[in-house]
Amino acid sequence: MSLTTDIGRRIELVSMDAHFHEISIALYRQEGTNGPEYLIHTYSQLDGAGKRVEFVARAMVALGGMEAVAGDTRRVRFPCGNPHQFACRRIFLEACKWDPAVGLESRPLTIFDKKSDGDLSVVSLGDGAYRITGDAEGDKAAKRRSAIGAGLVKLGEMEWAEETEERFSFPCRQAHDKLVGLLLIRALNVRGVEREQQMAAARGQLLAPSAQKQ
Protein backbone atom coordinates (compact mmCIF):
# COMPACT_ATOMS: atom_id res chain seq x y z
CA MET A 1 0.00 0.00 0.00
CA SER A 2 1.54 3.30 -1.08
CA LEU A 3 2.41 5.74 1.68
CA THR A 4 2.58 8.73 -0.65
CA THR A 5 -0.72 10.34 -1.45
CA ASP A 6 -1.86 13.14 -3.67
CA ILE A 7 -1.24 16.31 -1.66
CA GLY A 8 -1.14 18.77 -4.50
CA ARG A 9 1.53 20.18 -6.77
CA ARG A 10 4.91 20.58 -5.18
CA ILE A 11 6.22 24.05 -5.87
CA GLU A 12 9.28 24.27 -3.67
CA LEU A 13 11.60 22.01 -1.72
CA VAL A 14 14.24 22.38 0.93
CA SER A 15 16.13 19.15 0.54
CA MET A 16 18.16 19.32 3.75
CA ASP A 17 16.65 21.41 6.51
CA ALA A 18 19.47 23.05 8.40
CA HIS A 19 17.46 23.30 11.60
CA PHE A 20 16.04 19.79 11.97
CA HIS A 21 18.05 16.68 11.17
CA GLU A 22 18.38 17.49 7.46
CA ILE A 23 14.85 16.40 6.71
CA SER A 24 13.32 17.45 3.41
CA ILE A 25 10.48 19.93 3.68
CA ALA A 26 8.30 20.84 0.75
CA LEU A 27 5.62 23.35 -0.16
CA TYR A 28 2.57 22.01 -1.96
CA ARG A 29 -0.14 24.06 -3.61
CA GLN A 30 -3.73 22.96 -3.13
CA GLU A 31 -7.00 24.51 -4.19
CA GLY A 32 -9.00 25.48 -1.11
CA THR A 33 -12.64 26.60 -0.95
CA ASN A 34 -11.56 30.24 -0.74
CA GLY A 35 -8.65 30.16 -3.15
CA PRO A 36 -5.22 28.54 -3.25
CA GLU A 37 -3.69 27.18 -0.07
CA TYR A 38 -0.18 25.99 0.61
CA LEU A 39 0.64 22.89 2.56
CA ILE A 40 3.99 22.57 4.26
CA HIS A 41 4.87 18.91 4.33
CA THR A 42 7.62 16.45 5.12
CA TYR A 43 7.69 12.71 4.57
CA SER A 44 10.03 12.31 7.51
CA GLN A 45 8.67 10.22 10.37
CA LEU A 46 11.23 11.48 12.89
CA ASP A 47 9.95 12.64 16.26
CA GLY A 48 9.55 16.35 16.11
CA ALA A 49 9.28 16.58 12.33
CA GLY A 50 5.65 17.61 12.67
CA LYS A 51 6.53 20.41 15.08
CA ARG A 52 9.23 21.62 12.72
CA VAL A 53 6.74 21.84 9.88
CA GLU A 54 4.36 23.79 12.12
CA PHE A 55 7.12 26.27 12.93
CA VAL A 56 7.78 26.84 9.24
CA ALA A 57 4.09 27.53 8.72
CA ARG A 58 4.08 30.06 11.59
CA ALA A 59 7.21 31.66 10.17
CA MET A 60 5.54 32.07 6.80
CA VAL A 61 2.74 33.94 8.53
CA ALA A 62 5.08 36.18 10.50
CA LEU A 63 7.60 36.89 7.74
CA GLY A 64 5.41 37.02 4.67
CA GLY A 65 2.07 38.24 5.96
CA MET A 66 0.25 35.01 5.17
CA GLU A 67 -2.44 33.56 7.39
CA ALA A 68 -3.02 30.09 8.77
CA VAL A 69 -5.85 28.13 7.21
CA ALA A 70 -8.44 27.72 9.95
CA GLY A 71 -7.91 24.62 12.04
CA ASP A 72 -4.72 23.62 10.28
CA THR A 73 -1.27 24.24 11.66
CA ARG A 74 0.48 23.28 8.42
CA ARG A 75 -1.48 25.09 5.81
CA VAL A 76 -1.28 28.79 4.95
CA ARG A 77 -2.79 31.16 2.45
CA PHE A 78 -2.72 34.83 1.54
CA PRO A 79 -5.50 36.90 3.16
CA CYS A 80 -6.38 38.32 -0.26
CA GLY A 81 -7.18 34.78 -1.48
CA ASN A 82 -4.83 35.06 -4.45
CA PRO A 83 -2.03 32.59 -5.23
CA HIS A 84 1.07 34.86 -5.37
CA GLN A 85 2.85 31.56 -5.98
CA PHE A 86 6.27 32.87 -6.93
CA ALA A 87 6.39 35.04 -3.83
CA CYS A 88 5.07 32.22 -1.66
CA ARG A 89 8.03 30.09 -2.65
CA ARG A 90 10.37 32.81 -1.48
CA ILE A 91 8.50 33.16 1.83
CA PHE A 92 8.77 29.39 2.33
CA LEU A 93 12.53 29.38 1.67
CA GLU A 94 13.09 32.27 4.06
CA ALA A 95 10.91 30.62 6.69
CA CYS A 96 12.96 27.44 6.46
CA LYS A 97 16.17 29.41 6.82
CA TRP A 98 14.96 31.25 9.90
CA ASP A 99 16.68 30.12 13.10
CA PRO A 100 13.93 28.85 15.43
CA ALA A 101 15.87 30.21 18.40
CA VAL A 102 15.40 33.74 17.10
CA GLY A 103 12.04 35.45 17.51
CA LEU A 104 10.00 35.81 14.34
CA GLU A 105 9.77 39.34 12.98
CA SER A 106 9.05 40.75 9.58
CA ARG A 107 11.66 42.63 7.56
CA PRO A 108 11.53 46.41 7.35
CA LEU A 109 10.63 48.30 4.21
CA THR A 110 13.88 50.22 4.37
CA ILE A 111 17.28 48.86 3.46
CA PHE A 112 20.79 50.19 2.93
CA ASP A 113 21.89 49.84 -0.68
CA LYS A 114 25.65 49.67 -1.30
CA LYS A 115 25.36 50.52 -4.96
CA SER A 116 23.61 53.83 -4.36
CA ASP A 117 25.33 54.32 -1.00
CA GLY A 118 22.17 55.24 0.83
CA ASP A 119 18.93 54.01 2.31
CA LEU A 120 16.13 52.86 0.07
CA SER A 121 12.56 52.68 1.27
CA VAL A 122 9.49 51.12 -0.19
CA VAL A 123 6.48 53.25 0.58
CA SER A 124 3.11 51.61 0.78
CA LEU A 125 0.59 53.79 -1.03
CA GLY A 126 -2.53 51.75 -0.25
CA ASP A 127 -4.51 49.44 -2.57
CA GLY A 128 -1.48 47.23 -2.92
CA ALA A 129 0.57 49.97 -4.59
CA TYR A 130 4.15 50.85 -3.72
CA ARG A 131 6.86 53.30 -4.63
CA ILE A 132 10.59 53.39 -3.92
CA THR A 133 12.28 56.39 -2.42
CA GLY A 134 15.89 56.91 -1.50
CA ASP A 135 18.43 59.21 0.08
CA ALA A 136 20.72 59.43 -2.92
CA GLU A 137 20.06 61.89 -5.72
CA GLY A 138 20.93 62.12 -9.38
CA ASP A 139 20.38 60.02 -12.48
CA LYS A 140 22.38 57.05 -11.31
CA ALA A 141 20.38 56.84 -8.08
CA ALA A 142 17.11 57.14 -9.98
CA LYS A 143 18.14 54.31 -12.32
CA ARG A 144 19.06 52.21 -9.33
CA ARG A 145 15.64 52.79 -7.73
CA SER A 146 14.00 51.88 -10.98
CA ALA A 147 16.03 48.65 -11.21
CA ILE A 148 15.10 47.68 -7.67
CA GLY A 149 11.48 48.45 -8.39
CA ALA A 150 11.73 46.21 -11.41
CA GLY A 151 13.27 43.55 -9.18
CA LEU A 152 10.33 43.74 -6.81
CA VAL A 153 7.91 43.60 -9.72
CA LYS A 154 9.61 40.45 -10.99
CA LEU A 155 9.89 38.73 -7.62
CA GLY A 156 6.41 39.69 -6.44
CA GLU A 157 4.73 39.20 -9.83
CA MET A 158 3.53 42.78 -9.54
CA GLU A 159 2.52 45.26 -12.20
CA TRP A 160 3.75 48.71 -13.09
CA ALA A 161 1.20 51.48 -12.92
CA GLU A 162 0.13 52.52 -16.40
CA GLU A 163 0.76 56.18 -15.95
CA THR A 164 4.16 56.11 -14.32
CA GLU A 165 7.15 53.82 -13.94
CA GLU A 166 7.55 54.75 -10.33
CA ARG A 167 4.51 52.94 -8.99
CA PHE A 168 3.90 49.26 -8.98
CA SER A 169 1.25 47.16 -7.33
CA PHE A 170 -0.01 43.68 -6.70
CA PRO A 171 -2.70 42.64 -9.20
CA CYS A 172 -4.96 41.82 -6.27
CA ARG A 173 -4.79 45.49 -5.20
CA GLN A 174 -4.20 44.43 -1.58
CA ALA A 175 -1.31 45.50 0.61
CA HIS A 176 1.34 42.89 1.29
CA ASP A 177 3.83 44.97 3.25
CA LYS A 178 5.54 42.08 5.01
CA LEU A 179 6.03 40.30 1.72
CA VAL A 180 7.54 43.38 0.12
CA GLY A 181 9.93 43.76 3.05
CA LEU A 182 11.00 40.16 2.59
CA LEU A 183 11.55 40.53 -1.15
CA LEU A 184 13.43 43.80 -0.92
CA ILE A 185 16.84 42.32 -0.19
CA ARG A 186 16.50 39.95 -3.14
CA ALA A 187 15.38 42.76 -5.39
CA LEU A 188 18.76 44.45 -4.93
CA ASN A 189 20.34 41.64 -6.90
CA VAL A 190 18.03 40.76 -9.73
CA ARG A 191 20.53 40.92 -12.56
CA GLY A 192 18.24 39.81 -15.32
CA VAL A 193 16.08 42.83 -14.64
CA GLU A 194 18.96 45.23 -15.22
CA ARG A 195 19.80 43.52 -18.50
CA GLU A 196 16.18 43.78 -19.67
CA GLN A 197 16.16 47.48 -18.84
CA GLN A 198 19.40 48.09 -20.76
CA MET A 199 18.03 46.26 -23.77
CA ALA A 200 14.76 48.15 -23.62
CA ALA A 201 16.62 51.45 -23.42
CA ALA A 202 18.81 50.49 -26.40
CA ARG A 203 15.93 49.53 -28.67
CA GLY A 204 15.58 51.80 -31.65
CA GLN A 205 18.94 53.44 -31.05
CA LEU A 206 21.49 53.56 -33.83
CA LEU A 207 24.60 51.99 -32.37
CA ALA A 208 28.12 52.55 -33.63
CA PRO A 209 29.57 49.37 -35.16
CA SER A 210 31.94 48.91 -32.24
CA ALA A 211 29.01 48.96 -29.79
CA GLN A 212 26.93 46.49 -31.76
CA LYS A 213 26.75 42.82 -30.71
CA GLN A 214 29.54 40.87 -32.47
Binding site: S2, L3, T4, D6, R9, R10, L13, S15, M16, E22, I23, S24, A26, T42, Y43, S44, Q45, L46
Partner: protein, 341 residues
Protein backbone atom coordinates in the same frame (compact mmCIF):
# COMPACT_ATOMS: atom_id res chain seq x y z
CA UNK B 1 1.36 -10.05 -16.78
CA UNK B 2 3.39 -9.23 -13.70
CA UNK B 3 5.81 -6.34 -13.93
CA UNK B 4 8.66 -8.80 -14.11
CA UNK B 5 7.14 -10.76 -16.98
CA UNK B 6 6.34 -7.58 -18.83
CA UNK B 7 9.86 -6.19 -18.53
CA UNK B 8 11.59 -9.42 -19.55
CA UNK B 9 9.26 -9.83 -22.52
CA UNK B 10 9.96 -6.25 -23.60
CA UNK B 11 13.71 -6.95 -23.46
CA UNK B 12 13.08 -9.85 -25.81
CA UNK B 13 10.96 -7.52 -27.96
CA UNK B 14 7.98 -9.82 -27.55
CA UNK B 15 4.34 -8.69 -27.14
CA UNK B 16 3.36 -7.25 -23.77
CA UNK B 17 0.04 -6.24 -22.22
CA UNK B 18 1.31 -2.69 -21.87
CA UNK B 19 4.63 -0.89 -22.18
CA UNK B 20 6.68 -1.47 -19.04
CA UNK B 21 7.82 1.42 -16.90
CA UNK B 22 11.48 0.82 -16.28
CA UNK B 23 14.32 2.52 -14.43
CA UNK B 24 17.74 1.23 -15.46
CA UNK B 25 19.06 4.10 -13.36
CA UNK B 26 18.15 5.59 -9.99
CA UNK B 27 14.74 7.01 -9.11
CA UNK B 28 15.73 7.78 -5.53
CA UNK B 29 14.69 11.19 -4.22
CA UNK B 30 15.26 13.00 -0.95
CA UNK B 31 11.57 12.73 -0.10
CA UNK B 32 11.57 8.98 -0.65
CA UNK B 33 14.69 8.80 1.52
CA UNK B 34 12.73 10.50 4.31
CA UNK B 35 9.73 8.24 3.78
CA UNK B 36 11.68 5.05 4.45
CA UNK B 37 14.43 6.60 6.57
CA UNK B 38 17.19 5.65 4.14
CA UNK B 39 19.16 8.80 3.36
CA UNK B 40 22.23 9.14 1.19
CA UNK B 41 25.08 8.52 1.63
CA UNK B 42 24.26 5.61 3.97
CA UNK B 43 21.72 4.15 1.54
CA UNK B 44 24.62 3.52 -0.84
CA UNK B 45 26.61 1.56 1.76
CA UNK B 46 24.04 -0.30 3.85
CA UNK B 47 22.15 -3.13 2.10
CA UNK B 48 18.96 -2.86 4.20
CA UNK B 49 18.71 0.87 3.53
CA UNK B 50 19.60 0.37 -0.12
CA UNK B 51 16.87 -2.22 -0.56
CA UNK B 52 14.31 -0.17 1.36
CA UNK B 53 14.92 2.95 -0.72
CA UNK B 54 15.10 1.10 -4.03
CA UNK B 55 11.80 -0.68 -3.33
CA UNK B 56 9.95 2.65 -3.26
CA UNK B 57 10.38 2.75 -7.03
CA UNK B 58 7.82 -0.05 -7.12
CA UNK B 59 5.77 0.38 -3.93
CA UNK B 60 5.38 4.16 -4.20
CA UNK B 61 6.00 5.12 -7.79
CA UNK B 62 4.50 2.10 -9.52
CA UNK B 63 7.43 1.14 -11.75
CA UNK B 64 7.79 -2.39 -13.09
CA UNK B 65 11.39 -2.57 -11.98
CA UNK B 66 13.47 -2.10 -8.86
CA UNK B 67 17.05 -0.94 -9.38
CA UNK B 68 19.04 -0.58 -6.14
CA UNK B 69 22.36 0.67 -7.49
CA UNK B 70 21.71 4.39 -7.28
CA UNK B 71 25.22 5.51 -8.09
CA UNK B 72 28.02 4.55 -10.46
CA UNK B 73 30.79 4.25 -7.91
CA UNK B 74 30.48 0.95 -6.12
CA UNK B 75 33.16 -0.87 -8.17
CA UNK B 76 35.47 2.11 -8.23
CA UNK B 77 35.38 2.22 -4.46
CA UNK B 78 36.21 -1.49 -4.31
CA UNK B 79 39.02 -1.03 -6.82
CA UNK B 80 40.63 1.48 -4.52
CA UNK B 81 39.57 4.83 -5.91
CA UNK B 82 39.34 7.75 -3.51
CA UNK B 83 35.75 8.47 -2.74
CA UNK B 84 33.71 11.42 -1.70
CA UNK B 85 30.53 10.18 -0.08
CA UNK B 86 28.83 13.56 0.15
CA UNK B 87 25.49 14.08 1.86
CA UNK B 88 21.80 13.40 1.54
CA UNK B 89 21.10 15.64 -1.43
CA UNK B 90 24.31 15.06 -3.33
CA UNK B 91 25.70 12.13 -5.26
CA UNK B 92 28.74 10.23 -4.03
CA UNK B 93 31.60 10.69 -6.44
CA UNK B 94 34.97 9.30 -7.34
CA UNK B 95 37.85 11.71 -7.00
CA UNK B 96 38.90 11.39 -10.61
CA UNK B 97 41.54 14.04 -10.06
CA UNK B 98 43.36 11.47 -7.91
CA UNK B 99 43.47 8.49 -10.27
CA UNK B 100 44.74 5.14 -9.11
CA UNK B 101 46.01 3.79 -12.45
CA UNK B 102 48.36 5.05 -15.13
CA UNK B 103 49.50 2.02 -17.12
CA UNK B 104 47.77 -1.19 -18.26
CA UNK B 105 49.87 -3.15 -15.76
CA UNK B 106 48.23 -1.19 -12.95
CA UNK B 107 44.81 -2.66 -13.80
CA UNK B 108 44.19 -5.32 -11.20
CA UNK B 109 41.16 -6.56 -9.33
CA UNK B 110 41.92 -6.70 -5.63
CA UNK B 111 41.19 -10.03 -3.91
CA UNK B 112 38.29 -8.49 -1.98
CA UNK B 113 36.69 -6.90 -5.04
CA UNK B 114 33.38 -8.69 -4.54
CA UNK B 115 33.42 -8.71 -0.76
CA UNK B 116 34.33 -5.05 -0.33
CA UNK B 117 31.69 -3.18 1.68
CA UNK B 118 30.46 -1.24 -1.34
CA UNK B 119 30.22 -4.05 -3.90
CA UNK B 120 28.83 -6.45 -1.34
CA UNK B 121 26.18 -3.90 -0.34
CA UNK B 122 24.64 -4.24 -3.80
CA UNK B 123 24.63 -8.03 -3.95
CA UNK B 124 23.13 -8.20 -0.47
CA UNK B 125 20.49 -5.64 -1.38
CA UNK B 126 19.58 -7.61 -4.49
CA UNK B 127 19.12 -10.75 -2.37
CA UNK B 128 16.80 -8.88 -0.01
CA UNK B 129 14.76 -7.46 -2.88
CA UNK B 130 14.60 -10.76 -4.73
CA UNK B 131 13.17 -12.39 -1.62
CA UNK B 132 10.59 -9.66 -1.05
CA UNK B 133 9.53 -8.72 -4.58
CA UNK B 134 11.25 -11.15 -6.92
CA UNK B 135 8.04 -12.59 -8.40
CA UNK B 136 6.38 -9.25 -8.99
CA UNK B 137 8.96 -6.91 -10.49
CA UNK B 138 12.20 -7.19 -12.40
CA UNK B 139 15.23 -6.61 -10.20
CA UNK B 140 17.87 -4.77 -12.19
CA UNK B 141 21.50 -4.68 -11.11
CA UNK B 142 24.23 -2.48 -12.48
CA UNK B 143 27.79 -3.13 -13.54
CA UNK B 144 30.01 -0.36 -14.89
CA UNK B 145 31.48 -0.77 -18.33
CA UNK B 146 35.22 -0.53 -18.93
CA UNK B 147 35.13 2.92 -20.54
CA UNK B 148 33.50 4.45 -17.47
CA UNK B 149 35.83 2.53 -15.19
CA UNK B 150 38.61 4.08 -17.25
CA UNK B 151 37.36 7.57 -16.42
CA UNK B 152 37.18 6.74 -12.72
CA UNK B 153 40.46 4.90 -12.36
CA UNK B 154 42.70 6.73 -14.84
CA UNK B 155 41.05 10.14 -14.62
CA UNK B 156 38.92 11.57 -17.42
CA UNK B 157 41.54 13.78 -19.07
CA UNK B 158 44.42 11.28 -18.88
CA UNK B 159 42.16 8.52 -20.20
CA UNK B 160 40.90 10.57 -23.13
CA UNK B 161 44.41 11.75 -23.94
CA UNK B 162 45.61 8.15 -23.83
CA UNK B 163 42.88 7.22 -26.33
CA UNK B 164 44.24 9.93 -28.63
CA UNK B 165 47.95 9.26 -28.14
CA UNK B 166 47.92 5.48 -27.90
CA UNK B 167 44.75 3.67 -28.95
CA UNK B 168 46.46 0.29 -28.58
CA UNK B 169 47.35 0.93 -24.98
CA UNK B 170 43.82 2.16 -24.32
CA UNK B 171 42.32 -1.01 -25.75
CA UNK B 172 44.60 -3.09 -23.56
CA UNK B 173 43.43 -1.18 -20.49
CA UNK B 174 39.80 -1.63 -21.51
CA UNK B 175 40.30 -5.33 -22.03
CA UNK B 176 41.69 -5.69 -18.53
CA UNK B 177 39.01 -3.53 -16.94
CA UNK B 178 36.20 -5.53 -18.52
CA UNK B 179 37.04 -8.31 -16.08
CA UNK B 180 35.63 -6.11 -13.31
CA UNK B 181 32.46 -5.62 -15.35
CA UNK B 182 32.06 -9.37 -15.83
CA UNK B 183 32.86 -10.41 -12.26
CA UNK B 184 30.60 -7.86 -10.67
CA UNK B 185 27.82 -8.55 -13.15
CA UNK B 186 27.98 -12.29 -12.45
CA UNK B 187 27.87 -11.69 -8.70
CA UNK B 188 24.66 -9.71 -9.09
CA UNK B 189 23.13 -12.33 -11.35
CA UNK B 190 23.91 -14.98 -8.76
CA UNK B 191 22.28 -12.75 -6.13
CA UNK B 192 19.10 -12.68 -8.19
CA UNK B 193 19.29 -9.83 -10.70
CA UNK B 194 17.00 -10.35 -13.68
CA UNK B 195 18.87 -7.88 -15.86
CA UNK B 196 21.86 -5.58 -15.64
CA UNK B 197 22.31 -1.95 -16.57
CA UNK B 198 25.71 -1.41 -18.13
CA UNK B 199 26.71 2.27 -18.09
CA UNK B 200 29.63 2.91 -20.41
CA UNK B 201 29.86 6.63 -21.02
CA UNK B 202 31.25 6.94 -24.52
CA UNK B 203 28.84 9.80 -25.04
CA UNK B 204 28.58 12.07 -28.07
CA UNK B 205 29.19 14.98 -25.72
CA UNK B 206 32.75 13.70 -25.28
CA UNK B 207 33.76 11.32 -28.07
CA UNK B 208 32.76 10.49 -31.63
CA UNK B 209 30.54 7.62 -32.76
CA UNK B 210 33.59 6.06 -34.41
CA UNK B 211 35.23 5.94 -31.03
CA UNK B 212 32.41 3.66 -29.84
CA UNK B 213 33.01 1.38 -32.79
CA UNK B 214 36.77 1.37 -32.41
CA UNK B 215 37.04 0.93 -28.67
CA UNK B 216 33.84 -0.58 -27.36
CA UNK B 217 31.70 -2.47 -29.84
CA UNK B 218 33.68 -5.70 -29.76
CA UNK B 219 34.01 -5.51 -26.00
CA UNK B 220 30.26 -5.09 -25.62
CA UNK B 221 29.63 -8.07 -27.87
CA UNK B 222 31.90 -10.09 -25.60
CA UNK B 223 30.08 -8.86 -22.48
CA UNK B 224 26.78 -10.01 -23.96
CA UNK B 225 28.31 -13.46 -24.43
CA UNK B 226 29.68 -13.60 -20.90
CA UNK B 227 26.74 -12.20 -18.88
CA UNK B 228 23.69 -14.45 -19.17
CA UNK B 229 20.91 -11.93 -18.50
CA UNK B 230 19.50 -9.06 -20.58
CA UNK B 231 21.97 -6.20 -20.63
CA UNK B 232 20.81 -2.58 -20.85
CA UNK B 233 23.55 -0.37 -22.24
CA UNK B 234 23.37 3.15 -20.83
CA UNK B 235 25.12 6.09 -22.50
CA UNK B 236 24.12 9.68 -21.71
CA UNK B 237 24.01 12.54 -24.16
CA UNK B 238 23.91 12.55 -27.94
CA UNK B 239 24.12 9.01 -29.26
CA UNK B 240 22.13 8.86 -32.50
CA UNK B 241 25.36 8.66 -34.47
CA UNK B 242 26.40 5.47 -32.69
CA UNK B 243 23.05 3.75 -32.21
CA UNK B 244 23.55 1.71 -35.36
CA UNK B 245 26.72 0.25 -33.84
CA UNK B 246 25.03 -0.21 -30.48
CA UNK B 247 22.24 -2.11 -32.18
CA UNK B 248 24.88 -4.57 -33.44
CA UNK B 249 26.22 -5.28 -29.97
CA UNK B 250 23.64 -7.90 -29.07
CA UNK B 251 22.60 -6.02 -25.95
CA UNK B 252 18.94 -6.45 -25.03
CA UNK B 253 18.28 -2.74 -24.63
CA UNK B 254 19.74 0.72 -24.95
CA UNK B 255 18.86 3.32 -22.35
CA UNK B 256 18.91 6.57 -24.25
CA UNK B 257 18.95 10.27 -23.44
CA UNK B 258 16.38 12.96 -24.22
CA UNK B 259 18.82 14.63 -26.62
CA UNK B 260 17.84 11.91 -29.10
CA UNK B 261 14.26 12.11 -30.43
CA UNK B 262 12.35 8.84 -29.85
CA UNK B 263 11.16 8.35 -33.41
CA UNK B 264 14.62 8.95 -34.90
CA UNK B 265 16.21 6.62 -32.39
CA UNK B 266 13.69 3.88 -33.18
CA UNK B 267 14.37 4.30 -36.88
CA UNK B 268 18.12 3.91 -36.44
CA UNK B 269 17.94 0.81 -34.24
CA UNK B 270 15.31 -0.74 -36.52
CA UNK B 271 14.10 -3.35 -34.04
CA UNK B 272 17.57 -4.83 -33.48
CA UNK B 273 17.61 -3.69 -29.86
CA UNK B 274 14.94 -2.51 -27.41
CA UNK B 275 14.98 1.15 -26.39
CA UNK B 276 14.39 2.42 -22.84
CA UNK B 277 13.82 6.06 -22.10
CA UNK B 278 13.88 8.91 -22.53
CA UNK B 279 12.03 11.37 -20.30
CA UNK B 280 14.08 14.46 -19.77
CA UNK B 281 15.42 14.89 -16.26
CA UNK B 282 16.51 18.49 -15.75
CA UNK B 283 13.94 20.31 -17.82
CA UNK B 284 10.93 18.04 -17.41
CA UNK B 285 11.06 15.74 -14.41
CA UNK B 286 12.91 18.22 -12.24
CA UNK B 287 11.57 21.57 -13.40
CA UNK B 288 8.14 21.08 -14.85
CA UNK B 289 4.92 19.33 -13.90
CA UNK B 290 2.98 16.15 -14.53
CA UNK B 291 1.46 17.46 -17.78
CA UNK B 292 4.86 17.86 -19.38
CA UNK B 293 5.98 14.46 -18.10
CA UNK B 294 2.90 12.94 -19.67
CA UNK B 295 3.66 14.53 -23.02
CA UNK B 296 7.10 12.98 -23.11
CA UNK B 297 5.76 9.59 -22.09
CA UNK B 298 3.28 9.82 -24.97
CA UNK B 299 6.02 10.80 -27.41
CA UNK B 300 7.90 7.65 -26.53
CA UNK B 301 4.79 5.49 -26.71
CA UNK B 302 3.75 7.00 -30.03
CA UNK B 303 7.19 6.09 -31.36
CA UNK B 304 6.71 2.54 -30.01
CA UNK B 305 9.68 2.74 -27.67
CA UNK B 306 9.85 -0.59 -25.89
CA UNK B 307 10.19 0.52 -22.25
CA UNK B 308 9.53 3.97 -20.82
CA UNK B 309 11.38 5.72 -18.02
CA UNK B 310 13.58 8.65 -17.07
CA UNK B 311 16.61 9.20 -19.29
CA UNK B 312 19.18 8.82 -16.51
CA UNK B 313 19.49 8.91 -12.71
CA UNK B 314 16.97 11.53 -11.69
CA UNK B 315 17.89 14.62 -9.73
CA UNK B 316 17.46 13.85 -6.05
CA UNK B 317 15.03 16.75 -5.66
CA UNK B 318 12.58 15.47 -8.28
CA UNK B 319 8.98 15.51 -7.10
CA UNK B 320 7.12 12.30 -6.37
CA UNK B 321 4.06 13.38 -8.33
CA UNK B 322 6.14 13.77 -11.50
CA UNK B 323 7.55 10.29 -11.13
CA UNK B 324 4.15 8.77 -10.39
CA UNK B 325 2.83 10.40 -13.54
CA UNK B 326 4.98 8.10 -15.69
CA UNK B 327 3.12 4.83 -15.03
CA UNK B 328 -0.19 6.73 -14.92
CA UNK B 329 0.45 8.15 -18.35
CA UNK B 330 1.52 4.78 -19.75
CA UNK B 331 -1.67 3.15 -18.49
CA UNK B 332 -3.84 5.96 -19.84
CA UNK B 333 -2.16 5.82 -23.23
CA UNK B 334 -2.80 2.11 -23.51
CA UNK B 335 -6.37 2.49 -22.35
CA UNK B 336 -6.93 5.14 -25.03
CA UNK B 337 -5.21 3.07 -27.69
CA UNK B 338 -6.65 -0.24 -26.46
CA UNK B 339 -4.09 -2.45 -28.14
CA UNK B 340 -1.28 -4.40 -26.56
CA UNK B 341 2.22 -3.21 -27.49
Amino acid sequence: MTGRERVLAAFRREPVDRTPVCNPTSVATVELMDLVDAPFPEANRDPEMMARLAATGYTELGFDTIMPVFTIIQESSALGCKMQWEQKDNWPTVRMREPIWVEPEDVKLPPDFLTHKDTRCVTDAIKILKKQYGDEVAIIGKTMGPWTLGYHCFGVEPFLLMSLDNPGKTKLCLDRMKEATIEYGMAQIEAGADALTLPDHATGDLVSGEYYKEFLLDLHIELVEKLPVPLILHICGRTLDRMDYIAQSGMAAFHYDSKNPPSEAMEVVDNRIALVGNINNPETLFSKGPEEVRQEVYQNLDAKVNLVGPECAIPLQTSIENLKEIPKAVKDWHRDHSTPN
